[in-house]
């Protein structure tokens, strides 16, 4: 079992009304000088060995389904990061450890 992350962002030349709205909302809340673009993040639990072929499959899946390449760019990478957002798969007993510093998660 391995984890692959697919990040999908609007292409820079495409309008990002959500990002714009979030930027505006942040300013109204007093957070100055922050310009936001909003995209998607997929965490994919992949059964079996994560070899190059399997990773290529995920890339294929991202291109066909997860991103709309007319307006979005994407990146696929195996997740080996030390601080994954979610420590383990669904239903794991480590649910309480979600998030990095605990003050972020406010459960």
């Amino acid at each position: 079992m391995a984890r692959v992350v697919v990040e999908v962002m609007p292409k820079p030349e495409i309008l990002d009304p959500q990002g714009k709205a979030v930027t505006g909302a942040l300013a109204r809340l007093g957070f100055e000088g922050m310009t936001v673009r909003q995209g998607k993040r997929f965490e994919i639990e992949v059964d079996g060995e994560l070899d190059d072929a399997r990773l290529a499959q995920v890339r294929d899946a991202a291109e066909r389904l997860l991103a709309n390449t007319v307006i979005e760019a994407f990146e696929v990478r195996a997740d080996e990061s030390a601080t994954p957002v979610v420590e383990a798969g669904e239903g794991s007993p480590s649910a309480a450890e979600v998030g990095t510093p605990t003050e972020d998660t406010q459960q």
């Binding site: 669904e90 239903g91 794991s92 007993p93 649910a95 309480a96 459960q107």
Partner: protein
Amino acid sequence: MADTVVNAQSSPEVEQPWAELGLKEGEYAQIREILDRRPTSCELAMYSVMWSEHCSYKSSKVHLRKFAVLGDQTPTGRLLAGIGENAGVIDVGDGWAVTFKIESHNHPSYVEPHQGAATGVGGIVRDILAMGARPIGVMDPLRFGPLDAPDTARVLPGVVSGVGSYGNCLGLPNVGGEVVFDPSYLGNPLVNALCVGKLRHEDLHLAHATGAGNAVILYGAATGGDGIGGASILASETFDDTKPSKRPSVQVGDPFMEKLLIECTLELFAAGVVNGIQDFGAAGISCATSELAAAGDGGMHVELDRVPLRDSSLSPEEILMSESQERMMAVVEPDHVERFLEICRKWDVQATVVGEVTGTGRLVIDWHGETVVDVDPRTVAHEGPVYERPYARPQWQDGVQARDVTALARPGTDEELGRTVLALAGSPNLCDKSWVTDQYDRYVRGNSVLAQPEDAGVLRIDEDSQLGVALATDCNARFTLLDPRAGAKLALAEAYRNVSVTGAQPVAVSDCLNFGSPEDPDVMWQFVEAVEGLVEGCAELGTPVTGGNVSLYNQTGDTPILPTPTVAVLGVLDDVTRRVPMGFCGEGESVWLLGT
């Protein structure tokens, strides 16, 4: 290891966390008496949720019985089902019936406004579906704190987007509601949701499990750890503290799943493969199994470990209490099981045979081969505690009533008068509500004859005969504070008028009684007065109350909300093409003033 019945018999001395589960000492003693032993932790979980105020109506039951004097006769015919079923069913002629009900989802909508409101809509829609009806419309009476309060900026947009996204995604036109602001709702917004459905008389289905040997099928979403705060106490602290103690108290809705559930269920009805059916509301499997079994003539045997889970770490107590959304339970004859499962597959809806109807009169639930629940289902579902809460007219009532409009300043000049009119027209409670209503689809299904901004929603039931229904919900809670009995009558009268001005004949009433704590005699008095006011008003008008919902403990600290008995009136139009819209329609028509 699960706490089995055998285990409970041999360990009467085990301390159980009944208080943490919200049970009173006397209630816990009553459970021990019923079982003649201590309950297992699963049984304790079931009793505690089913005996909660929310599920058992223990404080309101004695007063709700007063609705019975209204009988089951409407101006157009008998009720096909009344109070006690998931929703009342009204004969509207030509072989058609309609069913409608209003419910609250107040507290969850404060915790997580979007999901709370969304799952509120989801819950009431399943109630209507479970009667055998196709849901055809929704309405949403809402109450918020002051518009300019910071927390309203969190709650209001979330609630509206929740109601909208769930209803829109189900394809149910939103044909009315209310948006009212008052400081008393600041820490306790009200999210009431109404659903109306239509069915042919022969399609009526009831929630009961009959016929020993019939299969009990759970279908819809997998069960997760949603909304089971209390059960976690049982799971983690009492018996196994390696379990995660954090379970979400918030349920997340999946309207797409519910849309599939609706189409799938209607196809199951049409195929004639459903004997009894129950939607999942609060209390999840505890409620569905005990209510189905209690309403039937036998018992039920359930193998709990067959329940499909989203989270494999759930304990049996948690599975019993989980409030995961978008689930239903059906009783199906053995010969029909294959066809049932086939229809579910067509709609991509997971369905699992989890048990069967028995002739024992007991509800028996096993967990991996061991019995963890063995109860008389009636003691769980119907024979919970009933309280005669003390009530008394509040001492401050006279003071409130003594306040008088003559003491208010009046505009002195034309200019002041003009400013006052503008200020009123622009005030949050009177201003245009289209910021809210524009987020709701009022056109879907193509039968919305009247919707926002009309006084009542009108929906066509039958395209050939043009038969239709009109619906309005209303409540002026400030009137109700002044005089709860008269206020409830006024709420009824307003909804009744809003329905009749469309040209419809009002025939039936549903209500959602939102009040503070029943343990406060002042609040209890408001509640009793309001119920009696409704009974008197309905008796006068000849309309039965077909069902509704009570929501108590709506308060912030010791301060209750304004008493808010939301009243929904349903009317019938034999020919919707003759509906009367609001506003002046054609030049040259004369204008009449009716009434005093």
